[in-house]
């Protein structure tokens, strides 16, 4: 549905994106992931036909976004970052205006607006002025606008930014619901978001794609151990003796103490080879340890991301972990 070949764009002397190539197939939900200022918004502005690129080719639904711009644009629903809207219009009025602008036939406008209002849960604010809406509702109006003409492709730039956790969950659920009918490309600097909604992830840093794949593929591709770690919580008289014993076991490569309170000790264990949980259970029974937790911990995408994108002083990868971070950069 979307093919991007050798896309390059610079603002003055600063390169925003360099030689970017990727494609998105029909029905996919692809997450565009990167730190602030990585070039996500620039790429999306080019894909939506707002900015021309310096070089490279973009085809959307078979149409070139530069030379066949109008046809390509009519296949795209675009939600810009920060959702600009006309504050003086009413929600229903605004959606009808946008539908008409996007070429929906006059007698079908009502019906399409109804559908979008229904889908995005805007029924009770339909007659309200856009300027008086809360951030969450603005986001939903933006989404409703993007899908009002039922485009093949949705391009959503940071769709959950600035929302509270409840709203984030709602918008994510909404996007998931749209996945069956649209091809979706969404950008985010929040990993959990991409992991929750996308079938494939593109990691971009400093204007280049550094990794691509499904979340599980990305897990396999990193230096972080594939099987993750094991948490073991036991009640024991001497935590250091237990630690020594754990470290002497042949199927454990390394055990460390995480927390210790009122006799309960939590260890983090890196296994050597196979899943050793059954063996650990038997070991605990043999030594008379009371067992409270024995679980595996999957490698979170955060760690995968930092292994692809080295943290630098101005853009630390740790900021990616907190959904509360707001973008100051306009990339």
């Amino acid at each position: 549905m979307i093919t991007v070949q050798g896309l390059t764009k610079s603002y003055g002397t600063a390169d925003a994106i360099r030689d970017l190539s990727f494609s998105v197939d029909q029905g996919e939900v692809v997450g565009f992931l990167g730190p602030n200022g990585a070039g996500k918004s620039t790429t999306m502005k080019i894909l939506s036909g707002y900015l021309p690129a310096d070089s490279g080719e973009v085809r959307v639904a078979g149409f070139d976004i530069f030379s066949d711009s109008l046809k390509a644009r009519s296949r795209i629903g675009y939600l810009p970052e920060n959702v600009p809207l006309y504050p003086e219009m009413r929600v229903g009025e605004y959606l009808a205006y946008r539908a008409s602008l996007k070429g929906v036939r006059s007698r079908r406008i009502r019906e399409k607006v109804e559908d979008a209002v229904q889908l995005c849960g805007l029924r009770n604010v339909q007659k309200q002025l856009v300027g008086t809406l809360s951030k969450g509702y603005r986001q939903r109006v933006g989404l409703a606008d993007a899908l009002v003409n039922e485009p093949d492709i949705l391009i959503l730039d940071e769709p959950t930014i600035g929302l509270d956790p409840n709203q984030i969950r709602e918008v994510r659920a909404l996007i998931k619901g749209l996945a069956s009918r649209h091809t979706i490309l969404l950008s985010s600097h929040i990993l959990s978001e991409v992991e929750a909604t996308c079938s494939r992830i593109l990691i971009i840093n400093k204007g280049r794609i550094v990794a691509t794949g499904t979340p599980s593929e990305l897990r396999q591709r990193t230096s972080v151990p594939l099987s993750g770690t094991i948490r073991l919580e036991i009640l024991t008289e001497s935590s250091s003796a237990a630690l020594r014993e754990l470290n002497s076991l042949p199927y454990i490569s390394k055990a460390t103490t995480l927390t210790e309170s009122e006799g309960w000790v939590t260890y983090e264990i890196s296994p050597r080879g196979e899943d050793p949980r059954l063996l650990l259970y038997e070991e605990a029974v043999r030594r008379g340890w009371k067992l409270r937790e024995l679980s595996t911990r999957e490698v979170p995408l955060e760690e995968i991301f930092s292994s692809f994108v080295p943290a630098s002083p101005d853009q630390s990868a740790t900021e990616l972990q907190s959904p509360g971070n707001q973008p100051g950069a306009m990339s």
């Binding site: 603002y11 900015l51 810009p80 600009p84 003086e88 946008r98 996007k102």
Partner: protein, 251 residues
Amino acid sequence: MRVFWTLLKKEVSSAFLTPMAWVLLFFLLLLTGFNFYAGVSSLNHGPTEVTVVESFFNTVFFWFSFLLLFPLLTMRLFSEEYRTGTIELLMTAPVRDSQVVFAKFCGALVLYSALWLPTGLYFLIFWWQTHLQAAGAMGAYLGAYGLLFLMGMFYLSLGCLCSSLTRHQISAAVMTFCLVALFFFTGLLTFLSGQVGTLMKGIAVTFSPIDQMTQFSRGLYDTRAVVWYLVMTALCLFLTFQSLQARRWRG
């Protein structure tokens, strides 16, 4: 074409949805109403050489409110959309840049016309009360309002251009006001007649709105003025279109 109507409708309705159009209408009618009153009451002081229409369209009050309209009517056209980012929505919809420019210009022109239309009532009231013609002939009304429309086209297109150049409404307004004043006061060159040749003087008189209005409000039409305003409007709109496209490239 349908896209153009959609855009035009939005432009006009959003002007009337915000207080701007109503505030402008109120103060314009206040000023021109006073202007009309002054014109009529001057008839009390003995015979004059000018008709009511001529005097209405040639006072400081009239020209002052006329000149102030343009920055106010056009400053938000593009600047507002740049500032709020809605331009991104507009230009990613399947809409041509030329349609956007033309719709915004026509929207401003509709609003401008709607502001001046009620002033026609003054002459109706005059006729109803005195059973006298306010002008020598119908051509005088047509000339005065026709020139008002033509000048409006040119100055509004100048405003469009200025607004498309910046995201700051005030900057757009200042630029518009300066450019409109520059073109408007060409007539003042005649005061320098001692220094300039007769050609310059001829140009100054031909293109001075004040002199033009004196002619048109008598029902004397000068096609040079008509052509001048039409060509300049087209030029300004073309430049606006170019500026909009250039803005895309700059990102």
